[in-house]
């Protein structure tokens, strides 16, 4: 893998982490002393993706203009890696009129038609619309693909099964990705899924399936490339399960009392690990790493400043956009 790609992967991961840390900070900043989920500049549920950056970076580095991605309730890392405007993303999270959905959607409902990005807060239910985007690409005869992402908890939902079957049957240009972060809120994977690897479920649809261990961004990049190339060339869908890590709570405010793997998880933070790898491989030095972090932080702060300076929607417009 050439240096350019490696640095790009690293840069994307850093940018995501910067963003999530900034949101984390601002989310909690004004909820004290009595922590109230509905209060503050950013209200509502907040599902952050720290630890899962390698998935987003590794996949999206293989996407071309016109390709799309469909995410879940935990969508920021994928949106950022896919190139969704940081400003419009932040503004949506802050509920502003300048946001991706003019503040109507919120952090689980991000739609960027320009980059064919979307997400859904309902488990596994992002998959079916992704089939339709793939169908439209096929009909338009553009060589584009859709990557549809869910968590490992979602792999037990009916929509998962129906979507894989239909995509395989119609050879739609989709890559199905399962982010296995070991947990579905408080339920560990072994208490929800009858088998150890969802990659084995690919056989149920006659499509390739692969499980990628260790949250390794380069391995993810390589496998995603194979699957995306395959979809792009008309050979149909693949299923990738990526073992990743949820560093923080399911959502903010989650005390994670149920969790016994927190120390282990923190020891597997992919960011310092990849940084160390690139440094030891000689592709990066600490100064460059610092510079990338600073650039990312600056970009993120600019986006958040933009968001905070943007107007809130006008209550008088509350009934708009129900119908086109």
């Amino acid at each position: 893998m050439d240096q350019k790609i490696k640095i790009e992967l690293y840069r994307t991961m850093v940018l995501i982490r910067s963003f999530e840390e900034a949101i984390l900070r601002d989310y909690h900043a004004d909820k004290k002393p009595a922590w109230d989920i509905g209060a503050g500049l950013i209200p509502g549920e907040m599902h952050l993706s720290a630890g899962q950056e390698p998935v987003a970076a590794g996949i999206c580095a293989n996407l071309s203009p016109g390709d799309g991605i469909t995410a879940t309730h935990r969508p920021h890392h994928l949106a950022i890696a896919h190139g969704v405007s940081l400003k419009a993303l932040a503004a949506e999270i802050f509920g502003r009129e300048t946001g991706l959905g003019k503040g109507r959607g919120g952090h689980m409902h991000l739609f960027d038609p320009a980059s064919h990005f979307s997400c859904s807060g309902i488990i596994a239910e992002g998959y079916p619309p992704a089939l339709g985007q793939a169908f439209a690409f096929k009909w338009k005869k553009t060589p584009n693909v859709i990557v549809a992402v869910t968590g490992e908890g979602a792999a037990n939902q009916g929509a998962f099964h129906e979507s894989l079957n239909l995509a395989a049957l119609w050879k739609l240009p989709v890559v199905f990705v399962v982010e296995d972060n070991d947990w579905a809120i408080s339920v560990p994977r072994h208490a929800s899924t009858a088998i150890a690897s969802n990659a084995e479920r690919a056989a149920a649809y006659g499509i390739p399936g692969e499980r990628i261990e260790d949250n390794n961004v380069e391995a993810i990049w390589r496998s995603a490339k194979t699957a995306i190339d395959r979809a792009r060339s008309g050979e149909g869908p693949s299923l990738l399960e990526i073992h990743t890590v949820r560093l923080w709570g399911h959502f903010e405010g989650d005390a994670q009392a149920y969790r016994d793997d927190l120390d282990a998880a923190r020891a597997h933070d992919p960011l310092p690990a990849y940084e160390a790898q690139l440094i030891s491989e000689g592709f990066l030095d600490s100064a460059q790493a610092e510079a990338i972090k600073e650039e990312s932080a600056a970009e993120v702060e600019a986006a958040l400043s933009f968001a905070k300076a943007s107007p809130l929607p006008d209550a008088a417009d509350a009934l708009r956009y129900v119908f086109a």
Partner: protein
Amino acid sequence: MTVTEKEASPATRRLTTSKAMVEGIAQEMERDPSVFVLGEDVGAYGGIFSSTTGLLERFGPSRVMDTPISETAFIGLATGAATEGMRPIVELMFVDFFGVAMDQIYNHMAKIHFESGGNVKVPVVLMTAVGGGYSDGAQHSQCLWGTFAHLPGMKVVVPSNPVDAKGLMIAAIRDDNPVVYMFHKGIMGLPWMAPNPRALAPVPEEAYEVPIGSAAVVRQGNDVTIATLSLSVHHSLDIAEELSAEGIECEVIDLRTLVPLDRATILSSVAKTGRLLVVDEDYQSFGLSGELAAIVAETDPRLLKVPFMRVAVPDVPIPYSRPLEYAVLPTKTRIAAAVRKLMG
């Protein structure tokens, strides 16, 4: 079903409701290559209730697609294709099956436009068969339009005859919003169901729209307003004719669209008659009949000279056995009795 259907005679151009619907779909498919049809048995079979007969032969399998029995996947597929600029017509074979795919319908198809702040359009037509009266039991006989109309983001249209069926279909396809198109099996003019004389009628050849959101006063009368839709329009008209002989003149409103609802037509009729009967083949409570009562009551309860009445399914699953089913359906007997009671 495929019990042989007669071809419409081109001279008189009388079409059954199903053929009128299909003609509307075909004309839009001709006009707009982004229109396509998918669902269970919509291809070679032509739709269990003949809603797609002949389309496969004419447009081929790339535009008329049989699906697996995976309503969540294929209705979701329609939504996604619509967000990318296509105009899918997707069939849910019986409305009774909505429960296996409702999340795709009301949390996605219906909400994406809003959640995107208007940036994404979702022009899907979700067509579905409704209604009972032929002993198909509790899971295959429901209307459920109240359920769809209650949830924001979908238009809901319910034609009662061939002309509206074609015009509302074309309007639905051209609409930039999700439109739930609910057709009653009993008005399709199917050769294997109890015949309904008004299910065969002259239909204009050219493409035309019946505007979504406008009710039709299908019979004028000064005594009682019967607000109704779908198959019940026919029962209501029959009773109106019958009671006219007794000197009772019913005004019959075919609502045609539930969302958006044509409040003005309802209100001006009630202002004239002072008596309102809602005839509704959906369940009685928390549905259409209540909404019409509310519209009058929030405008002016004094419009009603006598208490409001409704003839609907009395909150019981649709029974299989014929005497029970006909006891709960909004039959002509029940409608006539209600009108007489309204007249005191």
